[in-house]
């Protein structure tokens, strides 16, 4: 089977509440979008947005069929010395925009939690993207238009098994575990 690839048009809109070492980022944030380790593109540097930068930068990339994740890394470059620090990153599973609720070629607005290299929460990134590709990637949810009856499984499409662990003490109120 030949490896076809699809075209991903992703516009990095903005980010919120970025911090480095617990202090808000002052300037020079930019985002690197990676489809795989060889295939990445960066947005322009946002000079004055501080910890709420907005880029509205559209990047067009090829996305091979077997891609599982798209990675967004928010980085901050320090002045003229050229050094850059990773503020946070988010991994978007391809299943979030393929085969979900939105039909093919539809412009989708998505937002993701950024986590810093230590794994702690560090802001939110907002993007909108459109995937141009093969017709058979139609929304699997919309295609099963047989009817809405009893017992539709909630997450039948999540067969790529993306799992995010959340430490049990950091979010679940105790009484919600016992019902």
């Amino acid at each position: 089977m030949e490896t076809k690839s699809r075209t991903l048009e992703i516009t990095i809109l903005s980010a919120e509440d970025l911090r480095i070492g617990n202090k808000p980022v002052k300037k020079n944030a930019f985002v690197v979008v990676s489809v795989d380790s060889f295939n990445n593109k960066a947005t322009k540097i946002n000079r004055d947005g501080g910890s709420y930068p907005s880029w509205n930068d559209k990047l067009v990339m090829d996305m091979p069929m077997q891609t599982v994740f798209i990675t967004l890394q928010v980085k901050c470059c320090k002045g003229s010395s050229g050094g850059e620090k990773t503020v946070g990153f988010a991994r978007i599973p391809v299943t979030d925009f393929v085969g979900g609720y939105s039909p093919v070629n539809c412009l989708q607005y998505l937002s993701y939690r950024l986590r810093d290299p230590k794994g702690l929460k560090n802001g939110i990134i907002n993007v909108c993207l459109r995937l141009k590709g093969a017709l058979r990637d139609c929304s699997s949810q919309a295609a099963s238009a047989g009817g809405i009856g009893l017992g539709i499984p909630i997450d039948s499409r999540r067969d790529l098994g993306v799992v995010t662990g959340i430490p049990i003490w950091s979010g679940y109120p105790a009484n919600s575990l016992v019902r």
Binding site: Y101, S102, Q108, Y109, I124, A142, I152, I154, S176, R179
Partner: protein
């Protein structure tokens, strides 16, 4: 959808003007909001014409006049408007128009009476005419939403007159009345401007430059009324401020004189005026195209008089563009619909429906229970915005007669079809479902939300111009909070709004987490964050006195959510 917060706190943020997603006169909006009146306010002008008015008097034509009444919920009728009298016509087109404020969240019932004004009153002023002395030609009634949802905003009604004869009372048709609605906006155009200054002077060399601009319009009396101000920039002699959006209606017209003042921010509130210019929006547009700057001037005291001292500081217009902001009614006229969906909690915590203390008790005397009240309040407003008046209706948390507990079953009892007809259909299937299922539990929203999202997604795939409103009514706190959040996050990019109404006396504090107005953006278990806030939650309370009901307040937010969705995706009313 990720609207960034200003990073300038302490009253240094930009104020006023019109935000990119707002099309109302902000001052009026804020005045009304501060008094608890919410929602999209639109002034609508109704114009009327009639055809085929029967002539009562064989010898001469009628001199018709139209009287408009408003029908309140309790049935009382108040006269609000009279047109002029048109002489000698069977097909009058009245010129005087009636201005009414459109409230999305209420059903505004109008009643029309057409009278033939007797010739002896020809010279009497319209408002002095006594209606009982005129000849009644016919009546018609409708809801204001029926008029505005018609494609050309014109609704034609049959005029009827009840005739009492010996055997029966029947209505005869006596012509037709056409009601036409127009929005009163002098202009829907919004101007976006980016302003900057060069070489700001200062009183002394060492003072910091913390400049900001205030744009005011000049009223006829010469007083200047502030319209908007920019954010405060720090330490900048050549500041460029963020783009400002001004609705041309806010300032009057494109040629209305505006005063743009540049102040130096002072934390004690007494800002120093650095300089000002007086330009209209049209002048600013010329400055932009000519790429010229305008010198600021400063009124300085020379002797006893103020002279305008021209400064070397210049104001530049870096960007100037105009866009048309479509209103909610524009989208309706373009064929967009609001589709209503309802899901009812059938968990055991409601209590046995046959006992009077149950939240599901159907009172034989006709008094509605909380579920019926809320469905009726939301449904009777939304039904006008749905052309086929067929609504999906579900129940959750119960065991249908031949099955395990279902967290999303069709109220009409069918296996494949979830639709019911009209509000009556919802009420009837609700009552019959009550006695055909056994209440169980737990309270899970995930299935219902996913079904609603599926419907919205199918409609999106068919490019239908629909926006969906799901009403979930529950008596208890949701059990699957994380799964509900996951379902909501996945559905946040769809044309869907979810209203959650809590009935009964439970403590709904945990449910407020779902409403991003009261907390943070929803986050799923996979790290995805909701791109829009699509949920609103309110605990149901009975209306006290004349105040607006909590459900109506929820409904009032829907046009705003609709517009935010359409505008952010650049979807125009007509394609």
């Amino acid at each position: 959808m990720g609207n960034c917060c200003s990073d300038a706190g302490g009253r240094m943020a930009a104020v006023g003007g019109t935000a990119a997603t707002d099309d109302q006169n902000n001052a009026v909006d804020m005045y009304l909001k501060s008094r608890g009146v919410h929602g999209i306010f639109c002034q609508i002008e109704l114009s009327f014409c009639a055809t085929d008015l029967q002539d009562r008097d064989e010898l001469s034509k009628s001199d018709p006049m139209l009287v408009v009444y408003i029908k309140e919920r309790d049935g009382s009728v108040t006269e609000v408007f009279r047109t002029e009298v048109v002489l000698n016509s069977f097909n009058p087109s009245w010129i005087t128009k009636y201005t009414i404020t459109y409230h999305f969240e209420a059903v505004q019932s109008l009643l029309f009476h057409v009278f033939d004004v007797d010739t002896q009153f020809q010279n009497v002023e319209v408002k002095m005419l006594k209606l009982e002395e005129q000849q009644f030609l016919g009546e018609a009634s409708c809801a204001l939403s029926e008029v505005v949802t018609k494609p050309n905003k014109s609704l034609t009604l049959d005029l009827v007159r009840k005739v009492e004869s010996a055997s029966s009372t029947h209505s005869q048709h006596h012509g037709k009345l056409t009601v036409h609605a127009e929005e009163c906006f002098s202009s829907k155009t919004t101007a976006e401007m980016t302003l900057s200054c060069l070489d700001l002077e200062s009183k002394d060399l060492f003072s910091k430059k913390i400049p900001f601009l205030v744009i005011s319009k000049l009223a006829e009396s010469g007083i200047s009324i502030p319209v908007c101000k920019t954010e405060v920039l720090k330490n900048d002699h050549n500041p460029t401020w963020k783009p400002m959006f001004l609705n041309i209606q806010q300032v009057g017209s494109k040629d209305s004189p505006l005063v743009i003042e540049c102040f130096n921010f002072n934390s004690n509130g007494k800002h120093d005026l650095i300089g000002k210019v007086q330009k209209s929006l049209a002048d600013l547009e010329k400055l932009h195209s000519g790429k010229e700057g305008e010198n600021l001037f400063l009124p300085t005291l020379v002797g006893r008089d103020y002279e305008n001292k021209i400064l070397k500081s210049k104001l530049f217009v870096d960007k100037f563009s105009e866009t048309i902001q479509h209103t909610f009614l524009d989208y309706l006229a373009g064929g967009f619909e609001l589709n209503f969906m309802v899901a009812i909690d059938f968990t055991a915590s409601n209590g046995n429906p046959r006992l009077p203390d149950s939240l599901h008790y159907i009172d034989p005397s006709g008094r509605q229970n909380a579920y019926q009240k809320a469905i009726y309040e939301v449904g009777e407003v939304l039904q006008f915005y749905d052309t086929d008046k067929c609504f999906p209706a579900w129940g959750f948390g119960a065991r249908p007669i031949d099955g395990p507990v279902s967290h999303c079953f069709n109220l009409n009892g069918s296996r494949n079809n979830c639709m019911v007809e009209g509000i009556r259909g919802i009420m009837m299937t609700y009552t019959s479902a009550l006695f055909n299922v056994s209440l169980a539990g737990p309270t899970l929203f995930g299935h219902v939300i996913n079904n609603a999202a599926l419907i919205a997604s199918q409609s999106l795939a068919n490019e239908a111009r629909k926006y969906f409103v799901l009403l979930i009514m529950t008596d208890g706190v949701v059990t699957d909070l994380q799964e509900t959040k996951d379902a909501l996050v996945q559905a946040s990019d769809l044309p869907l709004s979810i209203l959650i109404v809590g009935v009964g006396g439970a403590d709904f504090k945990e449910m407020e987490i779902l409403d991003a107005d009261k907390g943070e953006r929803l986050e799923s278990s996979t790290g995805q964050v909701a791109s829009r806030d699509i949920v609103q939650f309110v605990p149901f309370r009975d209306v006290q006195g004349g105040e607006i009901s909590v459900v109506q307040a929820l409904l009032a937010e829907i046009p705003t959510q609709f517009l935010t969705y359409m505008r952010s995706r650049h979807i125009k009313p007509c394609s």
